[in-house]
C-alpha cells in the first residue's frame, strides 16, 4: 500500500488536470455533486453520496451515435471519447461501473460506451454511510477491482490502493508516493471498523435470496400501495448508477438535409417506456412500472449476470419526493415471503448466524 500527503494529492490532481479532462466530487449549491475540476481546489472528497451518480461520464445523458445525410443516404458513426479521470467514486459506484461494463459488452458490444470507458481513469475514495446507504447488505461495501487508484483518507494524508498499472503510472508521474507506514494503515483500518458499524439501513435477507423472493412477490399489495403515491417521474432511474436504458431518436436539421441519430437516457418508471405501436402499454399502472424496476435490480438482471443490479447507494431513496424506499419495500417483501411459510435456505442460515 502506498501513501501520499495532502499536498501530494494536490500535485496529483493538478498534474491530471494538465493532461486529462478531470471530473470529481464538488459542492454544488452546497450539496454533494460531480462536476468538472479545472483547479485542484475545487475537488472536495465527499464522504456521503452525490445526488447523481457518475454514470454520465461514461454513458452521457445525451450523445450522438451517427450523423446522416438524407440527400445521398450516407451516414457516419460518431464515437467520441476523450482521456478523462473521475475522482471520488465510492466503492458502490465502482461496483456499479463494473456492472455497466458487463452490460455494455454483453451481446452486441456498445462501441461508444466501451471507447469512452477505455479512456477513463477511476480514482476511488472511501466514504461514511448516511441513513439510506445499504451497500453492506448487498456486498458492495468494498471494492477490490474496478479502480486505478483508491484513496483512503488517513490522519496525515491518503493510504492508496493501486489497482492497475495505469494507476501506478499516474502516481509516479504526478506526485511522490511512499510506502504507507503501519500507523497510516492502522488509522485506515480503524476508520473501516467505524464505517462497518455505522449502517442504519439493512436488508433482512442476503442478496442471494432476493431473486427468489422477488419471483414470489408479483401479487404483493406493496405494488399498488407504492404505485398510488409514485409520480412516474423517472428520478429513481436517472440517479441510479446501474440504470442503463436509453431511447434512440433521429433528429433532422432545419434544412431537412442532414440529421443526427442521438440516444438519451430513458427510464422504466415513465409512462411511455413500455408504450408500443397501436397505443398499447405493457405497464400502464405506476405500480407495475415500479415492480418492473425493482425486479430489474434484484431478479431479472441477476438471472443474466449473476449479481444484484442494486449496489445499495441509496440515491433513489434520497431523490424520491414521496419517500418510496427500495430497502423498505424489499424488507416488506421478505417479511411477506416469510409469512407465506416458504423460508428460503439462505434466509435460515443467515438468521442462524445472528
Amino acid at each position: 500500500m502506498k501513501f501520499i500527503t495532502k499536498t501530494g494529492l494536490k500535485a496529483l490532481v493538478t498534474g491530471l488536470i494538465r493532461d486529462y479532462k478531470v471530473y470529481g466530487t464538488v459542492k454544488k449549491d452546497g450539496f454533494p455533486a460531480y462536476g468538472e475540476i479545472t483547479d485542484a481546489k475545487q475537488l472536495v472528497l465527499l464522504q456521503t453520496p452525490t445526488h447523481l451518480s457518475a454514470k454520465g461520464f461514461v454513458f452521457p445523458e445525451r450523445e450522438t451515435l451517427l450523423r446522416f445525410n438524407m440527400e445521398d443516404g450516407s451516414h457516419k458513426p460518431v464515437v467520441e471519447a476523450a482521456d478523462q479521470v473521475i475522482i471520488g467514486l465510492h466503492a458502490c459506484d465502482i461496483h456499479a461501473m463494473l456492472l455497466m461494463d458487463r452490460v455494455f459488452a454483453y451481446g452486441a458490444p456498445d462501441a461508444n460506451y466501451l471507447a469512452r470507458r477505455a479512456k477513463t481513469l477511476v480514482i476511488g475514495t472511501d466514504c461514511m454511510p448516511d441513513e439510506h446507504c445499504f451497500c453492506q447488505s448487498i456486498g458492495t461495501m468494498h471494492a477490490t477491482e474496478g479502480f486505478d487508484l483508491f484513496l483512503h483518507q488517513t490522519k496525515n494524508g491518503f493510504a492508496i490502493d493501486v489497482g492497475t498499472k495505469r494507476g501506478a503510472a499516474i502516481l509516479r508521474k504526478y506526485t511522490k508516493a511512499v510506502t504507507a507506514a503501519a500507523s497510516e494503515i492502522r488509522n485506515m483500518e480503524a476508520f473501516e471498523k467505524k464505517r462497518a458499524g455505522s449502517f442504519k439501513t439493512r436488508l433482512d435477507a442476503p442478496a442471494a435470496a432476493l431473486p427468489a423472493i422477488y419471483a414470489r412477490s408479483d401479487a404483493s399489495p406493496v405494488w399498488d400501495r407504492i404505485g398510488s403515491i409514485c409520480y412516474g417521474c423517472g428520478s429513481c432511474n436517472n440517479v441510479c448508477p446501474t440504470c442503463y436504458c436509453f431511447d434512440v431518436r433521429d433528429e433532422p436539421a432545419a434544412n431537412l438535409k442532414q440529421g443526427e441519430r442521438v440516444r438519451v437516457w430513458d427510464a422504466c418508471t415513465l409512462e411511455e417506456f413500455a408504450l408500443v405501436a397501436g397505443g398499447h402499454n405493457f405497464r400502464k399502472p405506476r405500480g407495475a412500472r415500479l415492480r418492473h424496476r425493482f425486479n430489474r435490480k434484484f431478479r431479472y438482471l441477476t438471472d443474466v449476470f449473476n449479481a444484484p443490479f442494486c449496489v445499495g447507494c441509496g440515491r433513489c431513496i434520497r431523490t424520491c419526493l414521496v419517500n418510496i424506499n427500495i430497502a423498505e419495500v424489499t424488507n416488506e417483501l421478505i417479511a411477506e415471503d416469510a409469512k407465506r411459510g416458504i423460508i428460503d435456505e439462505t434466509v435460515r442460515t443467515k438468521k442462524a448466524e445472528r
Binding site: 455533486a33 445525451r62 409520480y231 417521474c233 423517472g234 433528429e251 433532422p252 436539421a253 434544412n255 414521496v322
Partner: protein, 231 residues
C-alpha cells in the same frame, strides 16, 4: 420565440412559405396547410376565426401555453367577467364592444388540435422539432414525462432539497428544466403531463410546508383551465 431561430430561419424559409404572420409581414394569403395558432380564446369572434382556420388547415398546432392550456390567462377566470370589465374600464364597461371579454379557454375547447408546442415561452428546440417532423411527414414527438427527468439530465440539485417547492413532478417536460438551471423553480408553464399524480403532489407540497390554499394557488398559476376540465 419563432423569430429567435436566427440560425435556422433562413433554412426554414427555404422549406415553407409563411403566408400569414401579421406581426412580421404585410403580405397575407389564405392558402395554407399548417396553422400554428398562438393565444387563448376569450371572445366569440376569436372562436369564429379559429373555426375558419381549422376548416382550411390540414394540421393545426397549438403554439405556446395560452393556446395549448389556456396558460396564465386562466387566472382571470377567478373573477366574474362583468366585475373585471368594470374594475378595469369603469362602470357600464360590460356594454361596450371594445371591452368585450369572456371566460378564457385554450383553443382545443373549440376545435380539434393535432399537435401541441407547450410552454411560456415555447422552447425553440421543440418548435423546430415539430416543424421538421411535419415537413418530413413524420409524427411530431410531444414530451409526456415530468420536468424531473429534464432536471436530472441537466444535473440540477432538486429545489425541494434547497427548501423550495415546485411543480416539476407533475409538469410536462421538454424545457430542459431551464428555470431550475437558472436559479428558479418549475412554475408549471407547460401544463400537466397526461397522467399527473395530483394527489401525491398535493401531499408532498403540504409536507414541505404549503397550506391547502397555497397548494391550489401553485396549481392554478398555469393549470387552472386544465384542472377545471379534468374534474
Amino acid at each position: 420565440m419563432v423569430l429567435s431561430c436566427e440560425n435556422e430561419l433562413p433554412e426554414i424559409l427555404r422549406q415553407v412559405d409563411i403566408v400569414n404572420f401579421r406581426e412580421a409581414m404585410t403580405e397575407r394569403h389564405e392558402d395554407y396547410e399548417i396553422a400554428f395558432v398562438e393565444g387563448s380564446i376569450s371572445r366569440k369572434e376569436e372562436a369564429h376565426k379559429l373555426r375558419k382556420i381549422r376548416k382550411k388547415a390540414r394540421v393545426v398546432v397549438a403554439l405556446g401555453a395560452c393556446s395549448s392550456t389556456g396558460g396564465l390567462n386562466c387566472l382571470k377566470n377567478r373573477f366574474p367577467m362583468r366585475y373585471l370589465q368594470e374594475e378595469v374600464y369603469g362602470r357600464g364597461a360590460h356594454k361596450k364592444k371594445a371591452f368585450d371579454t369572456d371566460t378564457v379557454r385554450p383553443i382545443d375547447a373549440f376545435i380539434h388540435v393535432d399537435y401541441y408546442i407547450h410552454g411560456c415561452p415555447i422552447p425553440k428546440k421543440e418548435f423546430l422539432s415539430v416543424l421538421t417532423a411535419l415537413l418530413m411527414g413524420s409524427v411530431p414527438k410531444i414530451t409526456n414525462h415530468p420536468v424531473c427527468v429534464d432536471c436530472k439530465l441537466a444535473g440540477n440539485i432538486c429545489v425541494f432539497e434547497k427548501g423550495k417547492t415546485c411543480l416539476g413532478p407533475v409538469t410536462r417536460a421538454g424545457c430542459d428544466a431551464i428555470c431550475v438551471t437558472y436559479g428558479g423553480v418549475c412554475w408549471g408553464c407547460r401544463g400537466l403531463v397526461d397522467d399527473p399524480n395530483i394527489g401525491a403532489h398535493t401531499e408532498t407540497l403540504k409536507r414541505y410546508g404549503l397550506t391547502a390554499d397555497s397548494v391550489m394557488d401553485s396549481f392554478n398559476l398555469y393549470d387552472r383551465c386544465a384542472i377545471k376540465r379534468k374534474r
